[in-house]
Symmetry: C2
Subunit: 336 residues, 2 copies
């Protein structure tokens, strides 16, 4: 009881500090989204945040309900010429081939080792799944996490020559930070591997592992030399894509987001699920329109295929970000 | 707009000050665990929290790593004469029988309707699973959540005549609050249904839905009359018990807890997984030793079976709480 009383006294004291602090600091605020050009997209984001956070707003949303979900590939970082996790899988094949000499004569591994990505992709989803299983399973969760970190520390993107984690979108980093200071809890909800993302999302995006939702393989608890480990099995557990995204959101978060951000038809159901909730909602699609600074692709692309969701955005009034027009810079390393 | 932005930034800053303030003032605070008798268990909790939170401590743990996991049934609320979720399933059978007249002649439903729980339990896990599937699936996630809330609003425990959510342990509520002000993020990790717990854990324990891990059935995204819904399917998705607990922890949290709290062999692997991490660790078992104020059971009980974990606690120096000796009160309604 005394404890609670002191706690309440502290709240009072701190509210006083708050008042003083606001007066002293109100001039420093500046633009929360400096890499966004002034335009409809930027205005719509700031309007939405004001509507749900200002206590007198009819659309006010309590802080614990301020859940935002972000796709990763093509929404927070680039995804061309193919998903970055596939580059990781390919490099793992090369690194693991001494333990798997049979791969030299077996597809899709043979094609990977020969750099023949046309053949790899011609194998379709089945070939990709086989690649992922062979390179992502068999080890413990901690060993896998270390393998991801080791790879990111040295691997370079074939076009930019930069580490993959340099190729995150500066405007989206600003958006994540802006939502964070406004009491939002932002989640990644990606078709990519949950354990592939978790080792680096906290450092790169400020999104901790418990706020990452993704595809997964099964794991099994085992004792190894008296030590408990979680072993990664070559068996799909969950595919967090398309209609799987609302399922993953419900499973991990248990609340419906009030804002969702994507870039492809793989995000359509997440956007629909978000839009269908009560109260103020915000749905945004990153449209890749910049062949010079990034890539330009939508309805005809296999990677980041954006067709139905683009139509629905237009019909339903979701925000579509024209990357070329609305983003001053793409990547943090382009900041002056 | 600028003002609101700064104001919100200040709130974040000031909440930080508040946290620091609470830490700095803990000497003034009084007893954070007033319902715990002075003794080894209480002392060990406070010692651990001090070790991991005091900045100069060699065992200091950064706030984002302060993850604690709690079993629910028998650890945060009672579980006798049977798991409370089973009472819910039974009441659902009664409520749903007009739509399922065939249940009057079909086990285990017939036995439930006749109040013959001996026959229900004799059917073993298979009968219980059939009951849960029949009563927990078929509706949408939102309908199910409402059904849980409606039930909790009226159902009474057969022994105490109290609402089930009154039968939470006051000492554990204090422990949850104590960990919260010390920067811990506490999760429920229960064999019970994740969607059965989420509607009420925030109000009762201060644990939000996204910090609840539990067993689940599969769900499916569907459009119903143009509105997206998640439909609950009669198919097991995940059993969050025994060796499933570390798997569920890894899946949902992606970090290893530094503290874990359980009461049965169903929690053994969660405790082992927690204990095996680096740095300071805390493992606690609630031992049901109080036949007068609660129940007394351990090695021979089917519900809350505690045998191997009790031995391992003794061998490994985990804290065992003798409920009768160490808790001044059991339930909040017993507070004077």
């Amino acid at each position: 009881m005394k404890y609670a009383f002191v706690c309440r006294r502290m709240v009072g004291f701190v509210l006083l500090l708050l008042a003083v602090g606001v007066l002293a600091n109100s001039a420093e605020a500046g633009d929360p989204l400096p890499s966004w050009n002034e335009g409809a997209a930027k205005r719509s984001i700031i309007d939405f945040v004001n509507r749900v956070t200002q206590p007198n707003s009819p659309d006010f949303v309590a802080p614990e309900q301020r859940i935002a979900t972000f796709d990763n590939d093509g929404t927070l970082w680039s995804e061309q010429p193919m998903y970055f996790q596939l580059f990781f899988a390919i490099d793992r094949v090369k690194a693991m081939v001494p333990m798997h000499p049979e791969w030299k004569d077996k597809q899709p591994f043979k094609a990977v080792l020969e750099g023949d990505f046309k053949t790899v992709l011609a194998g379709g989803e089945h070939a990709l799944l086989e690649l992922v299983m062979a390179t992502h399973a068999g080890n413990s969760t901690e060993e896998f996490s270390q393998a991801v970190k080791d790879w990111l520390a040295t691997a370079k993107h074939p076009k930019t020559g930069r580490p993959y984690t340099d190729m995150v979108y500066q405007p989206m980093l600003e958006l994540l930070a802006y939502l964070r200071v406004n009491g939002f809890k932002s989640y990644i909800v990606s078709g990519g591997g949950i354990e592939f993302m978790r080792p680096w999302t906290e450092g790169v995006y400020g999104i901790p592992p418990e706020q990452v939702v993704g595809s997964s393989i099964k794991t099994k608890f085992e004792m190894r030399k008296g030590q408990p480990v979680l072993v990664r099995l070559p068996e799909v557990n969950f595919i967090d894509d398309k209609a799987g995204k609302p399922v993953g959101i419900n499973q991990h978060i248990g609340r419906r987001p009030i804002a969702a951000f994507g870039n492809s038809d793989g995000d359509l159901q997440m956007l629909q699920w978000t839009a269908a909730g009560k109260g103020a909602r915000y749905m945004l699609i990153v449209h890749h329109t910049d062949p010079e600074r990034e890539w330009a692709y939508d309805r005809k692309s296999k990677i980041g295929h954006l067709d139905k969701a683009l139509d629905e955005a237009s019909n339903s009034g979701w925000t579509v970000v024209d990357m070329k027009k609305e983003w001053k810079v793409i990547y943090p390393f382009q900041l002056k």
